[in-house]
Symmetry: C2
């Protein structure tokens, strides 16, 4: 299915090629994102694609950068929400995003790309942005910014990625159970145990009250 | 510094080459583990090394497999110890091991090797063995083997790896603070919050009593 051959500005063409790559990455591993197929979908020659990207690797890096930005955008915390609900909303958006982009996402974190220095830099920047966001909001649930909290938050992001990938590969929990696991894990690792218990106890009591009230 | 040229059986020679590689990997990234230097240290020709390993990559895989087995051996849980102390002892051995093998360890989990399918399989098997061990001992601290606990333990292993690597790269906590963080994180993510608090509260109270008694 070759796309229509339309005249686009260089910026628009570049953006179109990346967008087609991002869509393709949703359904298949990065290694299978084919320059030929994308050129065909865009209705341009393979040669012209390499006018915009010096190599297949550079094209793949541009796709992965865009995907990471997209993921950061959809998981942006909503400052209108109370802290624990804000966390829950961001985690829900994250799990939905990786579910919708399963093959690509698993290939990025577990495939050949994970060893590529340019890719690794993107992942590293993405994780740093995620950690920064969490640390900005964390004081609202009693997590002050200390070296221990910074390390705990980085570890927690790895926890979320690992559980999400294992769950995508072999989903034995419901999505809600997974969300509860990853949502509780943040205060659990970053706060002293008794404070985490008090916070999460209150949260789940509030949740129960709300459920009761809804009956 | 060329090694003495001694006659070794093929098995012994192979083991010697791997051992030299493991030692070299302690101090430098895997990419810098040089076939030439190792052949020289063993007092054999580069060509003879390739009699034992079909390629540099195959040699590197053998080194990484051996390193992983070594790490599993030193972190083997001591069944004589009470559960939380057993966990603490294994984690201490793990942190000591990665500290002693810093450059190599960081390169395995964060370098080019992390994208190599043969390497990834070794890491995956190593993590699975670590998770199995934890799940075998976990009922002793009230963590029953459920799909949720299995996922939590896998996530916790990623948490420990990530915090260990961040800490090696930029150590802002003491080793004891890091050990407390990673040790508490297991019950914290795998148990309901109030049960984790009770367990860790008791553990730290016991620790205080012991400290008091020692005064």
């Amino acid at each position: 299915m070759a796309g229509k051959r339309t005249r686009l500005s260089p910026e628009a063409r570049r953006a179109q090629l990346i967008e087609l790559g991002v869509q393709m990455l949703a359904d298949r591993p990065l290694d299978s994102v084919s320059v030929e197929e994308i050129a065909e979908q865009a209705g341009i020659s393979r040669g012209l694609l390499f006018h915009y990207f010096a190599s297949k690797q550079e094209f793949h890096v541009a796709i992965v950068r865009h995907t990471s930005e997209e993921m950061l955008a959809v998981t942006e915390p909503d400052p209108q929400l109370p802290p624990l609900e804000m966390l829950h909303a961001s985690l829900t958006a994250y799990i939905d995003y990786v579910t919708d982009n399963r093959s690509g996402y698993v290939s990025l974190l577990r495939g050949t790309a994970s060893g590529d220095p340019a890719m690794r830099e993107i992942f590293e920047q993405t994780r740093t942005k995620m950690a920064e966001r969490v640390l900005e909001q964390a004081p609202n649930i009693g997590i002050e910014r200390t070296p221990r909290a910074e390390l705990a938050v980085r570890g927690w992001i790895a926890f979320v990625e690992e559980t999400a990938i294992s769950w995508l590969t072999d989903p034995k929990l419901t999505k809600d159970e997974l969300l509860e696991l990853v949502g509780q894990a943040l205060p659990a690792v970053a706060l002293p145990p008794e404070i985490a218990a008090a916070l999460l106890g209150t949260a789940s009591a509030t949740g129960q009250d709300r459920a009761q009230a809804a009956v």
